[in-house]
Amino acid sequence: MTTRAPLLSARGLKKSYGGVQALRGMDIDLAEGEIHGLCGENGAGKSTLVKILGGFVTPDDGELGIAGQIVPLGRPVDPALLSIVHQELSIIPHLSVIDNVMMGARDVRALYRRGPFRAHVRQTLDAVGLQHVPLDLLAEKLTLAERQLVEIARGIARGARVLLLDEPTATLSDGEIEKVFAVLRRLKSENATTIVIISHRLNEIFALTDRVTVLRSGRHILTADTADLTSDALVRAMIGHEVKTGEIAPSHARVGVAPRLALKDWSLPGRFAAPDLSVQPGEIVALVGQLGSGADMLLESLAGLKPGTRGTLSLDGTEATPRSIPEAYAAGIAYVSEDRAARGVFLDAPIGTNLVSQVLGRVSRAGRVLPSAVTALATELAQSFAIDPARLPHEVSTLSGGNQQKVSLGKAVALGPRLLLLNEPTRGVDIGARSEIYARLRALAERDAMTLLFYSTDLEEVLEASDRVITFYRGAMVRDAARAEVDADSILHDILHGPDEVAA
């Protein structure tokens, strides 16, 4: 398979966003009729690579050839050559299935008539296992898996020779995943379609792919036949070192004192119902669950971000239920957003301004901001997060992802919170900066007895950073256990299947 001339060949792709290098010279070859897995941690550059191949992002450098033609980069690629099934479904719920399939098709003239395409679309839908779906059904009536299959049908209807799927299974159940995989295998064998699939689930990679390419920190690490790889070797390539097992950092939870955080009847109808929960000062707790498990919403609700949340929240024995973000901050609860660029930091403002932005009252007197107080506080925060104080006047956008995240953390820590809530604490952060951040978080728990709660979809992070792990499945808590009592397998089982009695 690897000896034939490749159908798609990319060389030296480079891309940086602001100060963040997403790809640093990536080569990839795809053979005709293979299923190729793309693996890598969050922020390794997988999505950027897919977007460049699809022509949605212009790389800073590199070239791309498909089926022997040089393809201009940064312009949408002919859908007959290559189609992308995006991570976020691009199905429009208020349109019919046929309209969703035909959306953006080239053979549609200025006047859109469905008639000539009905037979072809029907055939395509049958091919992806949607025999039971009428063409004129509104897409909103479809299940998530069916919508995913409609997206795949869209790519096939355009005759795509290369189909790129960006995490097609993230929101699907196991049965649905198997259905999608069966369709992909058939496309490979019957149409010789080349399929690229991004997935975080290693068992899917081994079950489906012929070859695997691993990216790490924007670099190509390896490409190998899947059959020649072990799960351990793949993980090692992805994270760059052996998985640490059994190395559990000591907990700094203070015992024998009143709980820092206590929840009573805390629930958001339709989203989550958390049983009464109590967390000690200095404890670091991970909330883990898939999208829709309610774990992330529970975290947001603790910061007053989820109107409609019921129940009472006590801090150090005093009731302090926050109804809004300012109330949470006033009560001593700080929150760090998962969406750093959109909500976490002010990218276009200086680092120093960012660091003091949540405590402007503290650096002002009589409504006037005191430059000396700003400098003093910003320098102190920068030093404690290992950010070069000389860079304080520069905009946050000039920093790498890891340093941007440190700014995001620093401005929350500036509040001096008793309870620090972190949503995806190191998303898109490289490994080096990750360990710095974990060390800093541990120091906050140890020295300041700060209580930390974080939500993460990254199991390695959960295992490395937490003292205690709470898993969620469909809005309910599955297990609340000390870090030493869980491992990756048990957490995965909890969040994918829920408690055993629910497992089908």
Binding site: T353, G361, A390, P393
Partner: protein, 326 residues
């Protein structure tokens, strides 16, 4: 170059002036001075007290409105399109109240602008309605109220012109220019040095992040519309004081002139970026340019075209600079 960047040494004394974020403002400041000096040397009778005063009269009214508008733009709400009608109503009020003396009439006009600004600020900031639609609707409402109030007639001042209308502190420097200077200095300090100003600028940089950071975003949005209303009303009052008349034609061009002055000066439409001194520089640039066209007998339509072209160049430069930054 902003307050916060003074907190650490810059790499070189001039590098801040030509950083991507500041280069447009710097270029306009240099161009304004260069253009003025060139005109002084090449145009006969250019550097006379009366010509300089006419430049400053034009710049003061537009500039004060533009400074108020800039607080809306910098806070992240694009434009307010109710400046012209607010200025017109204020001109009528100023003449009607002229019996109270200059200060009384000025305060009455300002109160009108503050009230209308407050209403728009509440609709945009608290009820979260679309900023542009709100101010267009407000513009129609204010124009209707002003017409009903004045019966559609031009109101005329009784008695001679006041010190505010044509008085000068020095030959060539009218009192109106002094007021403009004071407005610029106060607004510049408010935005760059006060906690409220920091919150306003951060809100413009990223509204979602400002909200999540717990900044008082509603308050600064309301404040920005109050400032815009007050600035427009002050401009209307100054025009009324100059001409001795108040009517609906006052401030006819004011919305676009203020937007032009602000954008040419280097305030970013997207919010968060730009300073009040940039607005002043943009205002002076356009006033000097228009004046040169005027003394060279170019027709009004040419002036309009040049002003339009200047704004297009400014927004193009802004777009190119922000792309370069990405």
């Amino acid at each position: 170059m902003s307050t916060q960047s003074r907190s650490a040494p810059l790499p070189g004394p001039l590098s801040g002036l030509f950083a991507p974020a500041r280069v447009q403002a710097t270029v306009i400041q240099i161009a304004t001075v260069a253009m003025f000096l060139l005109a002084c040397l090449t145009v006969d009778n250019y550097a006379t007290a009366s010509n300089i005063a006419s430049i400053l009269y034009a710049a003061s009214t537009v500039g004060i409105a533009a400074v108020g508008l800039a607080s809306v733009t910098i806070s992240g709400n694009l434009f307010a399109l109710s400046l012209g009608s607010t200025a017109a109503f204020a001109s009528i009020i100023y003449i009607q109240l002229s019996g109270l003396g200059v200060i009384g009439a000025l305060l009455g006009s300002l109160a009108l602008g503050v009230v209308f600004g407050l209403i728009q600020g509440i609709v945009v900031g608290l009820l979260r309605c679309n900023a542009i639609i709100t101010t267009i609707a407000a513009s129609s409402l204010i124009a209707g109220l002003a017409t009903a109030f004045s019966g559609g007639r031009t109101v005329l001042a009784t008695g001679g012109p006041s010190w505010l209308g044509n008085g000068a502190i020095l030959p060539g420097i009218p009192w109106q220019a002094v007021i403009f200077l004071v407005v610029v200095v106060v607004a510049e300090l408010l935005l760059q040095r006060s906690r409220t100003g920091w919150e306003l600028r951060l809100r413009g940089t990223n509204p979602a992040a400002a909200e999540l950071a717990g900044l008082r975003t509603r308050r600064v949005v309301v404040l920005s519309y109050v400032l815009a209303g007050a600035g427009a009303a002050m401009a209307g009052a100054l025009i009324a004081a100059q001409s001795g008349t108040g009517n609906m034609r006052v401030g006819a061009d004011l919305d676009f002139s203020a937007i032009a002055a602000m954008l040419v000066g280097g305030v970013a439409i997207s919010g968060g970026r730009g300073r009040i001194i940039d607005v002043a520089a943009g205002t002076l640039f356009l006033a000097v340019l228009t004046n040169i066209l005027l003394v060279n007998n170019f027709a009004y339509e040419v002036q309009l075209m040049i002003k339009g072209l200047a704004v297009l160049v400014a927004v193009t430069a802004g777009a190119l600079l922000s792309r370069k930054k990405r």
